[in-house]
């Protein structure tokens, strides 16, 4: 069995299909072309501009989102490939006005300057914590290497994440 979205030979005419994406717990139905990346689907079709487009080539990490709890580069996957998966973006981390502990820590540690990489940094850090492989600053640095910060706020970013990892570790 195969789900055929569009099998017409391509002639440059765009062809869209209707898909359902599960984003931050709610189902969103959108009509998109197969070549739409998840990043473009979020930003251009759903007006969810919290997820940022930096390089659009998987090199900077600004577009990091979580799919089934795992961090990925949303610029390098097609929206149609993510049907049925649980997608979480920066918009879905807080509970109402209550910020996610990593969001709190980023503010507390001044872990940004311009803020453009921040949604990707925070989603990546959530993924990092889900993975449970980083236990100290050096491991955090290595396992956050997929997120670039042009302003160079790395020191404070590592401090913010380390604080949350240490706190959660004590609570666990």
């Amino acid at each position: 069995m195969s789900l055929v979205i569009d099998t017409e030979p391509r002639t440059g005419v765009s062809s869209t299909s209707s898909i359902t994406l599960k984003i931050n717990g709610s189902e969103k139905r959108i009509s998109i072309a197969p070549w739409t990346t998840l990043l473009d689907a979020l930003r251009e079709h759903l007006d969810m501009t919290g997820t940022k487009k930096g390089c659009d080539h998987g090199q900077c990490g600004a577009c990091t989102v979580l799919v089934n709890g795992k961090r990925i580069n949303s610029c390098l996957t097609l929206a149609v490939m993510q049907e049925g998966n649980e997608i979480q973006t920066i918009e879905g981390l807080s509970k109402g006005n209550e910020l996610h502990p990593l969001q709190e820590a980023f503010i507390e540690h001044d872990a940004f300057q311009c803020g453009y990489c921040t949604p990707g940094q925070i989603c990546s850090a959530v993924g990092l914590m889900n993975e449970g492989k980083a236990h100290n600053a050096s491991e955090i640095r290595e396992l956050m290497s997929g997120n670039l910060c042009r302003c160079g706020a790395y020191t404070n970013i590592v401090d913010a994440i380390e604080e949350v990892i240490n706190k959660e570790g004590r609570n666990a």
Binding site: M1, S2, L3, V4, I5, D6, T7, E8, P9, R10, G12, V13, S14, S15, A33, P34, W35, T37, D56, H57, G58, G61, T64, K70, R71, I72, N73, L76, T77, L78, V80, M81, S124, G127, L128, E131, K133, R141, E142, L143, M144, S145, G146, N147
Partner: protein, 329 residues
């Protein structure tokens, strides 16, 4: 990206039947989508193979493991059986890319990734791999990241994978399915040298699909290392990498594997050179001899000539670290 159609395959037969010369299988998409955005690769149809049932690690009858082709690189590297029995593979995978990319990239896709040669990516320049017959811009161009072993007059690109360097050292086997049935390909025969056809990265037929990667029983867990030398400490491709694995009886070497990354169109093995170590003591002098032998026919192209000496030193250091089983890098 050029417009294309998309289909999701839930069975191997469907995937194989949909495959044409102008269709591509898509796993993680981390390299393919990037190359399509760059207009380097074009597809009429993407066949999503992520729903095929190759997401597990199975024990084989011969005492090894069969890694599902659609498992991600991260799932593989952190799998308890890989950490315990094939730590060389885990270390090599974790030396590559970023956590986000390792969460997306599949094992099969890792084997299929294309070179990161700048000219391959730059559609304004000639490249025999991208456009056969157009010429190689790297040979007389800026070639700092390029190959020093097994090159041809047509192409000096390198294969970018870290995972594949470990798989070469471990003598893995690639399991593939095609319309004419299933077959296995020894890892060393999977990727090819450029010769006169650099457009062909590997020996897979156009309809074939990778379904698994088999590891033989021997995992060299007591004496191994993966050293990756690069321009920054994390999230960069190798200038030179070495997967070294030794079997020792006291301080006598009974088996040795050395695979190099970043130096050739495929993970580079020289079994003749490796056999020089068998029955010898694990000493720096013997390591120097094997390093000289492996690089004896190396050729630099100017900017990358430093890789010849770098590779020799990396081999010696890797063999020393494997002997002591210390992992400094």
């Amino acid at each position: 990206m050029n417009p294309f159609a998309y289909t999701r395959a839930y069975g191997v037969d469907t995937a194989l039947n949909e495959k044409t010369e102008r269709a591509h299988y898509i796993g993680g998409g981390t390299n393919l989508i990037d190359l399509m955005k760059e207009n380097v690769m074009h597809s009429q149809l993407l066949i999503d193979v992520n729903h095929l049932p190759f997401h597990e690690i199975e024990e084989t009858e011969s005492g090894g493991l069969l890694l599902g082709a659609m498992m991600t690189n991260a799932e593989t590297a952190y799998h308890p059986l890989i950490e315990e029995r094939y730590p060389l593979l885990a270390k090599a995978i974790l030396a590559g890319a970023s956590p986000q990319l390792r969460n997306m990239a599949t094992n099969g896709g890792n084997l299929m990734q294309r070179t990161r040669c700048y000219y391959f990516y730059d559609t304004a320049t000639p490249c025999n791999k991208r456009e056969p017959g157009s010429g190689c811009s790297a040979i007389n161009g800026y070639n700092r990241i390029h190959a020093i072993l097994g090159t041809s007059s047509e192409c000096i690109a390198t294969h970018p994978s870290d995972m594949c360097v470990a798989l070469a050292a471990l003598d893995a086997t690639v399991h593939v399915s095609g319309r004419n049935g299933d077959r296995t390909i020894a890892f060393n025969d999977f990727h090819r040298l450029p010769e006169m056809h650099p457009e062909k990265d590997n020996t897979l037929e156009s309809d074939e699909l990778i379904t698994g990667i088999e590891l033989p029983e021997k995992g060299f867990k007591d004496h191994f290392t993966y050293i990756k030398i690069r321009d920054r400490q994390s999230y960069a491709f190798a200038l030179v990498s070495v997967a070294a694995a030794l079997e020792l009886d006291g301080d006598t070497i009974t088996d040795a594997r050395i695979a190099l990354g970043g130096v050739a169109h495929k993970p580079w093995r020289d079994q003749g050179a490796e056999s020089l170590l068998k029955g010898k003591k694990a000493t720096e002098e013997n390591f120097e001899q094997v390093a000289e032998t492996i690089l004896a026919n190396a050729q630099g192209y100017g900017h990358n000539t430093f890789k010849i000496e770098l590779a020799k030193r990396a081999i010696i250091r890797a063999l020393s670290e494997a002997t002591e089983n210390v992992h400094l890098s």
